[in-house]
């Protein structure tokens, strides 16, 4: 299996004047090339710290983070690492630097010293990939939250990164914007082979990933495909996480004696299963 990022026994301690707060404790984890990985956990579980370790914004207190084999602690490699792993942050208003959408997307490749003609091409490609091409001449502050986040994503992919980290990038935007960002992330992963690491509070987003990692008190509490992870109700309770509503509905109906398959997590899969069960029982 091809690993794009490897965490080896990583611990991270926030060193403040008053206290030493461990945020991650001995975490070992791989991000596989081309996968859509969701990282969930309650506030303070260490997931944002984890995100910032993946492209050398933070360096581990102990252990190693390797991006395509490069150690993030090696200062000479930071530039190379950031070219491969880009990050989209939480607040859509804090990460746009230019006054016109296309200038903002060009900012990254300009800094990489890409020739102007190629920058033009990359910017256009990137804006098309996130569905924002028609807004290329717009002023970013006039865009919705979801649109701003998609511009930020375009800025990352214009650098031709292999991996994008979404650090709670959907937390501050409305449901419509959230759907836009999630669909964009899924498309980039499926169609362009970009590895996506989605740090999120929303279980509805996590259930759509290929793989889920649950963090709790700085440790990996579980990892696996969504249908496995969300089947473990004791784990969810212990880590303060919730089943998506659709899954809860399926659970209730199953308990009442209607045979439904396991691992139903999304509204679509639950609707399919409920329809099939009704047909099976010939109630229509």
């Amino acid at each position: 299996m091809d690993k794009i990022i490897e965490l080896k026994n990583v611990s991270f301690v926030y060193d403040t004047q008053e206290e030493q707060k461990p945020a991650l404790r001995n975490v070992s984890l791989d991000v596989r090339r081309g996968e859509f990985l969701a990282v969930i956990g309650h506030n303070g579980s260490g997931k944002s710290t984890l995100a910032k370790l993946l492209n050398a914004i933070l360096l581990p207190t102990e252990g190693q983070v390797l991006v395509e084999g490069m150690d993030t602690a090696d200062e000479d490699l930071v530039y190379e690492i950031r070219r491969r792993v880009g990050m989209v942050f939480q607040n859509p208003d804090n990460q746009i630097v230019a006054t016109i959408v296309e200038d903002d997307v060009a900012f990254g490749p300009e800094n990489l010293g890409v020739p102007p003609a190629e920058i033009r091409q990359r910017v256009d490609d990137a804006l098309r990939a996130v569905g924002m091409y028609e807004f290329r001449g717009a002023e970013p502050h006039k865009l919705s939250g979801g649109q701003k986040q998609r511009v930020a994503v375009a800025g990352v992919i214009a650098m031709r990164t292999d991996c994008i980290i979404f650090d709670e990038s959907t937390a501050m935007i409305d449901p419509k914007g959230r759907r836009e960002v999630l669909e964009t992330a899924k498309r980039l992963c499926r169609e362009m082979g970009i590895t996506v690491v989605m740090i999120t509070h929303f279980m509805e987003e996590a259930v759509q990933a290929d793989r889920v990692v649950v963090l709790d008190s700085g440790r990996v509490a579980a990892e696996g495909v969504p249908s496995e992870v969300f089947a473990d109700s004791a784990l969810l309770r212990r880590t303060g996480l919730e089943l998506p509503f659709a899954a809860k509905l399926a659970g209730k109906i199953r308990t009442a004696g209607v045979p439904l398959p396991d691992g139903l997590l999304t509204p679509d899969s639950v609707a399919d299963a409920l329809f099939a069960a009704a047909q099976e029982a010939e109630v229509i």
């Binding site: 914007g177 509805e204 996480l241 509503f245 209607v258 679509d268 409920l274 009704a278």
Partner: protein, 287 residues
């Protein structure tokens, strides 16, 4: 306790001779004392602009806001009184913490109300207790608190004014499931214990379906739907047409109906959903 009434309220942004945007257009509604009103709408639907009139923070271009029948824009005094009776908590209120200590921050509102010192102290401690901030945190700088604690400290600042109408603009945005639950249950407790009205702006249809007594749907600056939660969520198809989210349970039943199952689509809670589906099987009793 106060009854809130809005009469033909219109709000336009933009200076004279400049292109103007009508953010709120001819809105009329009445909110009875003690209700928990959920407000739903897209970003840009006018909901945040609307609620900022409730305590006189924004002045309408035309129309009135009445508290117990009195126009809060009648004169300065009336507006000032409204500001204390209607507590407004913005989105991401923790960005507005500014004092040296959490105590002083929570005390800011009551101090502006020119209450006596011991009353201020009583209110600060009560509000802090309400949002479960331990005493030890009161002397800390607000900037040393965790994200969830900051949010609760900011809400305590509004509660300390003991408003008869508490207006919260997306109080759970950006919080994890546990944090969301904590905030929502303390808001519900405040309403239960004081009999105050709560107006809650939220993107979570599930939360509104579960907690609210009434729901208001704003669309393009106008009232699209206003009624009991039952009345509003029974219009699932209209909500979807407006591009709004509907509760996951409603979405599932809309889909089942589309495929020809004879189910109702006005269901929005888990219990209703399970019961309605099991009805097909004649299993009402077993559920």
């Amino acid at each position: 306790m106060a009854e809130l009434e809005v009469r033909s309220l219109t709000h336009r942004y933009g200076a004279k001779h400049m292109p103007q945007v009508t953010a709120v257009k001819d809105v009329s509604l009445r909110v009875q004392a003690g209700e928990l009103l959920g407000v739903i709408g897209h970003t840009g639907s006018g909901k945040s602009t609307l609620i900022q009139h409730f305590n006189g923070l924004l002045t309408p271009t035309s129309g009135e806001v009445l508290l117990d029948g009195e126009n809060i824009f009648r004169d300065k005094q009336a507006t000032r009184a409204a500001r204390f009776r209607v507590g407004l908590c913005f989105q991401y209120p923790e960005y507005q913490l500014f004092e040296e200590t959490v105590y002083k921050d929570i005390a800011f509102g009551p101090r502006n109300m020119q209450l006596p010192q011991d009353e201020i102290d009583r209110r600060v401690r009560r509000a802090a207790q309400f949002v479960e901030l331990p005493d030890a945190l009161l002397e800390k700088s607000p900037f040393d608190l965790s994200g969830g604690e900051k949010r609760r400290a900011a809400i305590a600042g509004v509660l300390a004014m003991e408003p008869e109408i508490l207006v919260l603009d997306e109080p759970t945005a950006g919080l994890d499931p546990k944090g969301r639950e904590t905030i929502l249950s303390l808001v519900a407790d405040y309403r239960r214990q004081t009999g105050s009205t709560v107006i809650l702006v939220s993107h979570s249809m599930e939360d509104i379906a579960r907690l609210a007594t009434k729901a208001l749907v704003m669309n393009r600056g106008e009232v699209a739907l206003y009624g009991t939660v039952d009345e509003v969520f029974s219009q699932g198809e209209r909500l979807v047409a407006m591009g709004l989210d509907v509760p996951a349970v409603t979405r599932i039943f809309l889909s089942l109906r589309e495929r020809g199952l004879p189910v109702r689509t006005d269901v929005y809670t888990l219990e209703q959903g399970a019961a309605e589906y099991l009805r097909l099987f004649g299993k009402g009793a077993r559920a």
